[in-house]
Protein backbone atom coordinates (compact mmCIF):
# COMPACT_ATOMS: atom_id res chain seq x y z
CA UNK A 1 0.00 0.00 0.00
CA UNK A 2 2.82 2.31 0.97
CA UNK A 3 4.53 1.56 -2.34
CA UNK A 4 1.50 2.74 -4.21
CA UNK A 5 0.97 6.02 -2.34
CA UNK A 6 4.67 6.65 -2.65
CA UNK A 7 4.43 5.86 -6.36
CA UNK A 8 1.46 8.17 -6.82
CA UNK A 9 3.25 11.03 -5.11
CA UNK A 10 6.37 10.49 -7.19
CA UNK A 11 4.29 10.21 -10.38
CA UNK A 12 2.56 13.48 -9.62
CA UNK A 13 5.93 15.11 -9.03
CA UNK A 14 7.26 13.77 -12.37
CA UNK A 15 4.26 15.26 -14.10
CA UNK A 16 4.37 18.73 -12.58
CA UNK A 17 8.16 19.01 -12.90
CA UNK A 18 8.04 18.06 -16.57
CA UNK A 19 10.44 15.19 -16.02
CA UNK A 20 12.71 14.82 -19.05
CA UNK A 21 12.27 11.09 -19.49
CA UNK A 22 8.49 11.18 -19.08
CA UNK A 23 8.32 14.06 -21.49
CA UNK A 24 10.50 12.34 -24.09
CA UNK A 25 8.49 9.10 -23.97
CA UNK A 26 5.16 10.91 -24.18
CA UNK A 27 6.28 12.99 -27.14
CA UNK A 28 7.57 9.95 -28.98
CA UNK A 29 4.29 8.16 -28.36
CA UNK A 30 2.37 11.11 -29.76
CA UNK A 31 4.66 11.38 -32.75
CA UNK A 32 4.40 7.70 -33.64
CA UNK A 33 0.63 7.47 -33.19
CA UNK A 34 -0.17 10.77 -34.90
CA UNK A 35 1.98 9.77 -37.90
CA UNK A 36 0.18 6.45 -38.02
CA UNK A 37 -3.22 8.19 -37.88
CA UNK A 38 -2.33 10.62 -40.66
CA UNK A 39 -1.07 7.85 -42.95
CA UNK A 40 -3.96 5.52 -42.09
CA UNK A 41 -6.51 8.30 -42.76
CA UNK A 42 -4.92 9.06 -46.11
CA UNK A 43 -5.60 5.45 -47.07
CA UNK A 44 -8.78 4.66 -45.15
CA UNK A 45 -10.91 7.76 -45.68
CA UNK A 46 -10.89 7.72 -49.50
CA UNK A 47 -11.21 3.92 -49.42
CA UNK A 48 -14.20 3.93 -47.06
CA UNK A 49 -15.92 6.69 -49.01
CA UNK A 50 -15.23 5.01 -52.33
CA UNK A 51 -16.71 1.76 -51.03
CA UNK A 52 -19.88 3.64 -50.09
CA UNK A 53 -20.33 5.29 -53.49
CA UNK A 54 -19.02 2.75 -55.98
CA UNK A 55 -20.73 -0.51 -56.93
CA UNK A 56 -18.42 -3.23 -58.20
CA UNK A 57 -18.22 -6.99 -58.33
CA UNK A 58 -16.45 -7.82 -55.07
CA UNK A 59 -17.62 -4.85 -53.04
CA UNK A 60 -19.25 -6.94 -50.33
CA UNK A 61 -16.20 -9.16 -50.09
CA UNK A 62 -13.90 -6.17 -49.72
CA UNK A 63 -16.12 -4.78 -46.95
CA UNK A 64 -16.22 -8.14 -45.18
CA UNK A 65 -12.43 -8.45 -45.37
CA UNK A 66 -12.07 -4.89 -44.08
CA UNK A 67 -14.31 -5.64 -41.12
CA UNK A 68 -12.45 -8.86 -40.41
CA UNK A 69 -9.10 -7.06 -40.48
CA UNK A 70 -10.41 -4.79 -37.74
CA UNK A 71 -10.25 -7.75 -35.40
CA UNK A 72 -6.60 -8.63 -36.11
CA UNK A 73 -4.75 -9.20 -32.82
CA UNK A 74 -2.06 -6.48 -32.60
CA UNK A 75 0.62 -8.94 -31.56
CA UNK A 76 0.06 -10.91 -34.74
CA UNK A 77 0.28 -7.72 -36.79
CA UNK A 78 3.53 -7.02 -34.97
CA UNK A 79 4.78 -10.47 -35.84
CA UNK A 80 3.92 -10.07 -39.52
CA UNK A 81 5.53 -6.66 -39.75
CA UNK A 82 8.54 -8.06 -37.89
CA UNK A 83 8.92 -10.86 -40.43
CA UNK A 84 8.62 -8.44 -43.33
CA UNK A 85 11.15 -6.00 -41.89
CA UNK A 86 13.61 -8.46 -40.34
CA UNK A 87 17.00 -8.70 -41.95
CA UNK A 88 16.10 -11.86 -43.85
CA UNK A 89 12.67 -10.55 -44.80
CA UNK A 90 11.69 -8.89 -48.09
CA UNK A 91 12.13 -5.37 -46.70
CA UNK A 92 15.13 -6.21 -44.53
CA UNK A 93 17.51 -4.06 -46.56
CA UNK A 94 15.67 -0.96 -45.42
CA UNK A 95 16.88 -1.57 -41.89
CA UNK A 96 13.62 -0.40 -40.36
CA UNK A 97 13.20 -2.99 -37.64
CA UNK A 98 13.40 -1.52 -34.11
CA UNK A 99 12.87 2.04 -35.34
CA UNK A 100 9.90 4.35 -34.78
CA UNK A 101 9.11 3.90 -38.49
CA UNK A 102 8.48 0.21 -37.94
CA UNK A 103 6.12 1.12 -35.10
CA UNK A 104 4.27 3.55 -37.35
CA UNK A 105 3.92 0.84 -39.99
CA UNK A 106 2.51 -1.65 -37.48
CA UNK A 107 0.03 0.90 -36.15
CA UNK A 108 -1.04 1.87 -39.66
CA UNK A 109 -1.85 -1.78 -40.35
CA UNK A 110 -3.84 -2.01 -37.14
CA UNK A 111 -5.92 1.16 -37.45
CA UNK A 112 -6.48 1.49 -41.21
CA UNK A 113 -9.28 -1.14 -41.26
CA UNK A 114 -10.87 0.49 -38.20
CA UNK A 115 -10.87 3.98 -39.72
CA UNK A 116 -11.99 2.68 -43.12
CA UNK A 117 -14.84 0.77 -41.54
CA UNK A 118 -16.15 3.71 -39.49
CA UNK A 119 -15.78 5.97 -42.53
CA UNK A 120 -17.64 3.51 -44.72
CA UNK A 121 -20.48 3.21 -42.22
CA UNK A 122 -20.95 6.98 -41.98
CA UNK A 123 -20.52 7.63 -45.68
CA UNK A 124 -22.99 4.91 -46.60
CA UNK A 125 -25.61 6.61 -44.47
CA UNK A 126 -24.87 10.00 -45.97
CA UNK A 127 -24.83 8.57 -49.48
CA UNK A 128 -28.29 7.05 -48.94
CA UNK A 129 -29.48 10.52 -47.96
CA UNK A 130 -27.77 12.36 -50.84
CA UNK A 131 -27.95 9.72 -53.56
CA UNK A 132 -30.92 11.00 -55.58
CA UNK A 133 -29.85 14.63 -55.38
CA UNK A 134 -26.27 14.01 -56.44
CA UNK A 135 -27.37 11.77 -59.31
CA UNK A 136 -29.93 14.35 -60.38
CA UNK A 137 -27.29 17.11 -60.33
CA UNK A 138 -25.20 15.01 -62.69
CA UNK A 139 -22.16 14.99 -60.41
CA UNK A 140 -18.98 13.17 -61.32
CA UNK A 141 -17.69 10.35 -59.08
CA UNK A 142 -15.02 12.64 -57.74
CA UNK A 143 -17.53 15.41 -56.93
CA UNK A 144 -19.66 12.88 -55.06
CA UNK A 145 -16.74 11.63 -52.99
CA UNK A 146 -15.70 15.20 -52.22
CA UNK A 147 -19.21 16.26 -51.22
CA UNK A 148 -19.61 13.25 -48.93
CA UNK A 149 -16.22 13.72 -47.31
CA UNK A 150 -16.87 17.40 -46.70
CA UNK A 151 -20.40 17.03 -45.34
CA UNK A 152 -19.36 13.98 -43.32
CA UNK A 153 -16.25 15.62 -41.92
CA UNK A 154 -17.36 15.24 -38.30
CA UNK A 155 -17.76 11.50 -38.78
CA UNK A 156 -14.34 11.40 -40.42
CA UNK A 157 -12.79 13.18 -37.48
CA UNK A 158 -14.52 10.75 -35.14
CA UNK A 159 -13.04 7.88 -37.16
CA UNK A 160 -9.58 9.42 -36.96
CA UNK A 161 -9.95 9.85 -33.20
CA UNK A 162 -11.01 6.24 -32.80
CA UNK A 163 -7.91 5.26 -34.75
CA UNK A 164 -5.73 7.47 -32.59
CA UNK A 165 -7.23 6.02 -29.42
CA UNK A 166 -6.49 2.52 -30.59
CA UNK A 167 -2.96 3.40 -31.72
CA UNK A 168 -1.84 5.29 -28.63
CA UNK A 169 -3.04 2.59 -26.26
CA UNK A 170 -1.71 -0.33 -28.29
CA UNK A 171 1.24 -2.26 -26.86
CA UNK A 172 1.57 -5.71 -28.46
CA UNK A 173 2.63 -4.81 -31.97
CA UNK A 174 4.98 -1.94 -31.17
CA UNK A 175 6.67 -3.99 -28.48
CA UNK A 176 7.47 -6.63 -31.10
CA UNK A 177 8.61 -4.35 -33.91
CA UNK A 178 9.98 -1.47 -31.81
CA UNK A 179 11.71 -3.45 -29.13
CA UNK A 180 11.15 -0.85 -26.40
CA UNK A 181 14.67 0.54 -26.77
CA UNK A 182 15.50 3.37 -24.38
CA UNK A 183 15.75 6.78 -26.11
CA UNK A 184 14.82 5.18 -29.43
CA UNK A 185 11.56 3.26 -29.50
CA UNK A 186 10.28 3.45 -25.94
CA UNK A 187 6.71 4.81 -25.88
CA UNK A 188 4.01 5.22 -23.22
CA UNK A 189 2.58 1.74 -23.29
CA UNK A 190 5.83 -0.20 -23.62
CA UNK A 191 7.47 1.90 -20.93
CA UNK A 192 4.58 1.27 -18.56
CA UNK A 193 4.88 -2.47 -19.17
CA UNK A 194 8.61 -2.37 -18.53
CA UNK A 195 8.56 -0.12 -15.45
CA UNK A 196 5.75 -2.11 -13.89
CA UNK A 197 7.77 -5.26 -14.44
CA UNK A 198 10.73 -3.61 -12.73
CA UNK A 199 8.52 -2.49 -9.85
CA UNK A 200 9.17 1.20 -10.53
CA UNK A 201 5.64 2.44 -10.10
CA UNK A 202 6.46 6.15 -10.11
CA UNK A 203 7.33 6.43 -13.77
CA UNK A 204 4.76 3.77 -14.75
CA UNK A 205 1.97 5.68 -12.99
CA UNK A 206 3.14 9.03 -14.34
CA UNK A 207 3.08 7.66 -17.87
CA UNK A 208 -0.26 6.03 -17.10
CA UNK A 209 -1.71 9.42 -16.15
CA UNK A 210 -0.52 10.89 -19.44
CA UNK A 211 -2.11 8.00 -21.32
CA UNK A 212 -5.38 8.35 -19.45
CA UNK A 213 -5.32 12.10 -20.04
CA UNK A 214 -4.96 11.53 -23.78
CA UNK A 215 -7.74 8.95 -23.81
CA UNK A 216 -10.06 11.30 -21.93
CA UNK A 217 -9.27 14.11 -24.37
CA UNK A 218 -10.09 11.84 -27.30
CA UNK A 219 -13.45 10.83 -25.89
CA UNK A 220 -14.31 14.41 -24.90
CA UNK A 221 -13.61 15.67 -28.40
CA UNK A 222 -15.56 12.76 -29.89
CA UNK A 223 -18.49 13.60 -27.66
CA UNK A 224 -18.30 17.29 -28.55
CA UNK A 225 -18.31 16.33 -32.22
CA UNK A 226 -21.47 14.27 -31.91
CA UNK A 227 -23.06 17.23 -30.12
CA UNK A 228 -22.25 19.67 -32.93
CA UNK A 229 -23.51 17.04 -35.34
CA UNK A 230 -26.88 16.94 -33.64
CA UNK A 231 -27.20 20.70 -33.60
CA UNK A 232 -26.20 20.90 -37.24
CA UNK A 233 -23.39 23.30 -36.40
CA UNK A 234 -19.88 23.42 -37.91
Amino acid sequence: MNDITEGLRAAFWLLVSFDAELWEISLRSLKVSLSAVVIACAIAVPLGTWLAVQRFAFRRTVIAVMNALMGLPPVVVGLMVYILLSRSGPFGVLGLLFTPTAMVIAQVVIITPLIASITHQAMRELWAEYHDLLISLNTSKWQRVRTLMWDGRRALLTAALAGFGRAIGEVGAIMVVGGNIDHATRVLTTAIALETGKGDFALALGLGFVLIGLAVCVSLVTHALSQTERRGRW
Partner: protein, 237 residues
Protein backbone atom coordinates in the same frame (compact mmCIF):
# COMPACT_ATOMS: atom_id res chain seq x y z
CA UNK B 1 -35.76 27.88 -77.72
CA UNK B 2 -35.68 25.18 -75.08
CA UNK B 3 -33.15 22.85 -76.65
CA UNK B 4 -33.34 19.96 -74.22
CA UNK B 5 -36.81 19.26 -75.58
CA UNK B 6 -38.43 17.17 -76.84
CA UNK B 7 -38.32 14.48 -74.17
CA UNK B 8 -39.35 11.26 -75.85
CA UNK B 9 -40.30 8.05 -74.09
CA UNK B 10 -40.55 5.02 -76.35
CA UNK B 11 -42.01 1.91 -74.80
CA UNK B 12 -40.53 2.88 -71.44
CA UNK B 13 -41.13 0.20 -68.80
CA UNK B 14 -40.05 0.15 -65.18
CA UNK B 15 -40.31 -3.22 -63.50
CA UNK B 16 -39.40 -3.73 -59.86
CA UNK B 17 -39.59 -7.04 -58.05
CA UNK B 18 -41.30 -8.65 -60.99
CA UNK B 19 -44.07 -6.06 -61.06
CA UNK B 20 -44.47 -3.43 -63.78
CA UNK B 21 -44.80 -0.16 -61.86
CA UNK B 22 -44.73 1.97 -64.97
CA UNK B 23 -45.55 1.51 -68.60
CA UNK B 24 -45.07 0.73 -71.28
CA UNK B 25 -45.25 4.48 -71.85
CA UNK B 26 -44.98 6.30 -75.17
CA UNK B 27 -44.89 10.00 -74.61
CA UNK B 28 -43.50 13.08 -76.28
CA UNK B 29 -43.04 16.18 -74.23
CA UNK B 30 -42.46 19.34 -76.21
CA UNK B 31 -43.79 22.87 -76.47
CA UNK B 32 -43.88 25.29 -73.59
CA UNK B 33 -45.60 25.79 -70.29
CA UNK B 34 -46.45 23.60 -67.36
CA UNK B 35 -47.58 19.99 -67.43
CA UNK B 36 -49.30 18.48 -64.43
CA UNK B 37 -48.96 14.77 -63.83
CA UNK B 38 -52.11 13.67 -62.05
CA UNK B 39 -53.16 10.35 -60.62
CA UNK B 40 -53.94 8.54 -57.39
CA UNK B 41 -51.29 7.41 -54.89
CA UNK B 42 -49.05 4.72 -56.28
CA UNK B 43 -50.09 5.47 -59.86
CA UNK B 44 -46.44 5.91 -60.83
CA UNK B 45 -46.15 9.71 -60.93
CA UNK B 46 -42.82 9.81 -59.14
CA UNK B 47 -41.52 6.98 -61.28
CA UNK B 48 -42.61 8.72 -64.49
CA UNK B 49 -40.87 11.96 -63.49
CA UNK B 50 -37.69 10.10 -62.61
CA UNK B 51 -37.78 8.27 -65.92
CA UNK B 52 -38.22 11.51 -67.84
CA UNK B 53 -35.40 13.06 -65.83
CA UNK B 54 -33.18 10.14 -66.75
CA UNK B 55 -32.37 8.94 -63.23
CA UNK B 56 -34.56 5.83 -63.07
CA UNK B 57 -33.23 2.58 -64.49
CA UNK B 58 -35.49 1.40 -67.31
CA UNK B 59 -36.40 -2.25 -67.64
CA UNK B 60 -37.29 -1.67 -71.26
CA UNK B 61 -37.71 1.04 -73.86
CA UNK B 62 -35.84 4.31 -74.18
CA UNK B 63 -35.85 7.90 -73.09
CA UNK B 64 -34.31 10.50 -75.36
CA UNK B 65 -33.80 14.25 -75.47
CA UNK B 66 -33.11 16.90 -78.03
CA UNK B 67 -29.51 16.83 -76.79
CA UNK B 68 -26.96 14.15 -75.95
CA UNK B 69 -27.90 12.60 -72.61
CA UNK B 70 -25.14 14.05 -70.41
CA UNK B 71 -25.73 17.52 -71.77
CA UNK B 72 -29.48 17.07 -71.35
CA UNK B 73 -29.20 16.09 -67.70
CA UNK B 74 -27.15 19.19 -67.01
CA UNK B 75 -30.02 21.40 -68.17
CA UNK B 76 -32.63 19.85 -65.93
CA UNK B 77 -33.64 20.33 -62.34
CA UNK B 78 -35.57 18.03 -60.03
CA UNK B 79 -37.33 18.77 -56.75
CA UNK B 80 -37.93 15.54 -54.88
CA UNK B 81 -41.13 14.61 -53.09
CA UNK B 82 -39.23 14.53 -49.80
CA UNK B 83 -36.82 17.47 -50.05
CA UNK B 84 -33.14 16.55 -49.85
CA UNK B 85 -30.98 19.20 -48.23
CA UNK B 86 -27.24 19.00 -47.87
CA UNK B 87 -25.85 19.15 -44.33
CA UNK B 88 -24.64 22.67 -44.99
CA UNK B 89 -25.93 26.18 -44.58
CA UNK B 90 -28.85 27.44 -46.62
CA UNK B 91 -26.52 29.58 -48.73
CA UNK B 92 -24.16 26.68 -49.37
CA UNK B 93 -27.12 24.56 -50.44
CA UNK B 94 -28.18 27.20 -52.94
CA UNK B 95 -24.63 27.66 -54.19
CA UNK B 96 -24.00 23.94 -54.60
CA UNK B 97 -25.18 23.47 -58.21
CA UNK B 98 -23.43 26.67 -59.27
CA UNK B 99 -20.17 25.62 -57.65
CA UNK B 100 -20.45 22.18 -59.31
CA UNK B 101 -20.74 23.96 -62.63
CA UNK B 102 -17.58 25.87 -61.82
CA UNK B 103 -19.00 29.26 -60.81
CA UNK B 104 -16.74 31.50 -58.73
CA UNK B 105 -17.35 32.19 -55.06
CA UNK B 106 -18.42 35.80 -55.64
CA UNK B 107 -20.88 34.99 -58.43
CA UNK B 108 -22.35 32.17 -56.38
CA UNK B 109 -22.72 34.43 -53.34
CA UNK B 110 -24.52 37.06 -55.39
CA UNK B 111 -26.92 34.49 -56.83
CA UNK B 112 -27.54 33.08 -53.33
CA UNK B 113 -28.44 36.46 -51.89
CA UNK B 114 -30.82 37.01 -54.79
CA UNK B 115 -32.48 33.59 -54.63
CA UNK B 116 -32.49 33.50 -50.84
CA UNK B 117 -34.76 36.53 -50.99
CA UNK B 118 -36.99 35.08 -53.67
CA UNK B 119 -37.64 31.88 -51.72
CA UNK B 120 -38.20 33.79 -48.49
CA UNK B 121 -35.11 32.48 -46.74
CA UNK B 122 -32.99 35.63 -47.04
CA UNK B 123 -32.79 36.00 -43.27
CA UNK B 124 -31.52 32.47 -42.59
CA UNK B 125 -28.92 32.11 -45.33
CA UNK B 126 -26.12 31.21 -42.95
CA UNK B 127 -28.10 28.77 -40.84
CA UNK B 128 -27.72 25.01 -41.19
CA UNK B 129 -30.31 23.79 -43.68
CA UNK B 130 -31.28 20.77 -41.55
CA UNK B 131 -32.78 23.14 -39.03
CA UNK B 132 -35.33 24.51 -41.50
CA UNK B 133 -38.94 23.42 -41.26
CA UNK B 134 -40.28 20.93 -43.78
CA UNK B 135 -41.87 23.67 -45.85
CA UNK B 136 -38.74 25.81 -45.76
CA UNK B 137 -36.68 22.83 -46.91
CA UNK B 138 -39.09 22.44 -49.80
CA UNK B 139 -38.60 26.12 -50.73
CA UNK B 140 -34.84 25.66 -50.49
CA UNK B 141 -34.93 22.60 -52.75
CA UNK B 142 -36.96 24.58 -55.28
CA UNK B 143 -34.58 27.54 -55.13
CA UNK B 144 -31.61 25.21 -55.56
CA UNK B 145 -33.24 23.64 -58.63
CA UNK B 146 -34.08 27.02 -60.17
CA UNK B 147 -30.86 28.85 -59.41
CA UNK B 148 -29.02 27.43 -62.40
CA UNK B 149 -31.87 28.35 -64.76
CA UNK B 150 -32.80 24.87 -66.03
CA UNK B 151 -34.54 24.35 -69.38
CA UNK B 152 -36.61 21.62 -67.85
CA UNK B 153 -37.79 21.42 -64.25
CA UNK B 154 -39.42 18.45 -62.56
CA UNK B 155 -41.37 18.92 -59.35
CA UNK B 156 -42.68 16.00 -57.37
CA UNK B 157 -45.57 17.29 -55.26
CA UNK B 158 -43.77 20.46 -54.25
CA UNK B 159 -46.66 21.80 -52.19
CA UNK B 160 -47.64 18.63 -50.35
CA UNK B 161 -46.53 19.91 -46.94
CA UNK B 162 -47.02 23.63 -47.41
CA UNK B 163 -49.54 26.11 -46.08
CA UNK B 164 -51.49 28.44 -48.34
CA UNK B 165 -49.01 31.26 -48.27
CA UNK B 166 -46.01 29.08 -49.11
CA UNK B 167 -48.03 27.39 -51.85
CA UNK B 168 -48.82 30.79 -53.33
CA UNK B 169 -45.13 31.69 -53.12
CA UNK B 170 -44.14 28.53 -54.97
CA UNK B 171 -46.79 29.08 -57.60
CA UNK B 172 -45.42 32.59 -58.08
CA UNK B 173 -41.91 31.23 -58.59
CA UNK B 174 -43.21 28.63 -61.03
CA UNK B 175 -45.08 31.27 -63.04
CA UNK B 176 -41.93 33.37 -63.19
CA UNK B 177 -39.88 30.36 -64.29
CA UNK B 178 -42.43 29.59 -66.99
CA UNK B 179 -42.20 33.19 -68.17
CA UNK B 180 -38.48 32.75 -68.57
CA UNK B 181 -39.09 29.69 -70.72
CA UNK B 182 -38.48 26.89 -68.23
CA UNK B 183 -40.54 23.88 -69.18
CA UNK B 184 -42.14 22.54 -65.99
CA UNK B 185 -43.47 19.07 -65.24
CA UNK B 186 -45.15 18.77 -61.88
CA UNK B 187 -46.76 15.85 -60.10
CA UNK B 188 -49.54 16.94 -57.81
CA UNK B 189 -52.53 15.74 -55.86
CA UNK B 190 -53.97 19.18 -55.62
CA UNK B 191 -56.59 19.47 -58.35
CA UNK B 192 -57.26 23.14 -57.62
CA UNK B 193 -53.58 23.82 -58.10
CA UNK B 194 -53.54 21.86 -61.34
CA UNK B 195 -56.46 23.95 -62.59
CA UNK B 196 -54.62 27.14 -61.67
CA UNK B 197 -51.28 26.25 -63.23
CA UNK B 198 -51.50 23.51 -65.81
CA UNK B 199 -51.31 24.07 -69.53
CA UNK B 200 -51.29 20.35 -70.14
CA UNK B 201 -52.22 17.27 -68.12
CA UNK B 202 -50.89 13.73 -68.00
CA UNK B 203 -53.28 11.42 -66.19
CA UNK B 204 -51.67 8.30 -64.83
CA UNK B 205 -53.32 5.24 -63.41
CA UNK B 206 -51.77 1.90 -62.51
CA UNK B 207 -48.56 2.88 -64.23
CA UNK B 208 -50.27 3.70 -67.52
CA UNK B 209 -50.72 7.07 -69.18
CA UNK B 210 -54.49 7.15 -69.51
CA UNK B 211 -54.62 10.60 -71.01
CA UNK B 212 -52.24 13.29 -72.20
CA UNK B 213 -54.02 16.42 -73.32
CA UNK B 214 -54.54 20.15 -72.87
CA UNK B 215 -55.58 21.12 -69.36
CA UNK B 216 -58.87 22.71 -70.37
CA UNK B 217 -59.89 19.61 -72.26
CA UNK B 218 -59.03 17.40 -69.31
CA UNK B 219 -60.99 19.39 -66.76
CA UNK B 220 -63.89 20.13 -69.08
CA UNK B 221 -64.47 16.69 -70.47
CA UNK B 222 -63.28 13.61 -68.60
CA UNK B 223 -63.11 10.73 -71.01
CA UNK B 224 -63.37 7.76 -68.71
CA UNK B 225 -65.11 6.76 -65.54
CA UNK B 226 -61.73 6.70 -63.79
CA UNK B 227 -60.99 10.30 -64.76
CA UNK B 228 -64.39 11.46 -63.74
CA UNK B 229 -64.11 9.73 -60.39
CA UNK B 230 -60.63 11.19 -59.88
CA UNK B 231 -61.85 14.69 -60.65
CA UNK B 232 -64.73 14.30 -58.25
CA UNK B 233 -62.33 13.06 -55.61
CA UNK B 234 -63.89 9.61 -55.42
CA UNK B 235 -61.81 6.68 -54.36
CA UNK B 236 -60.41 4.91 -57.38
CA UNK B 237 -60.26 1.17 -57.60
Amino acid sequence: MVRVLPVELRGAVVRRRGRAILGPVDLTLAGEGLTCVLGPNGAGKTTLLRVMHGIERLSGGTVGYGLPEREALRRQGFVFQAPIVLRRTVAENLAYPLRLAGAGRADAARACADWGGRIGLGAVLDQPAQRLSGGEKQMLALGRALISGPDLLFLDEPCASLDGRATAAIEGLLRAARESRTRIIMATHDLAQARRLADEVIFLRNGQVERHCAAEAFFAAPQSAAEEAFLKGDILQ
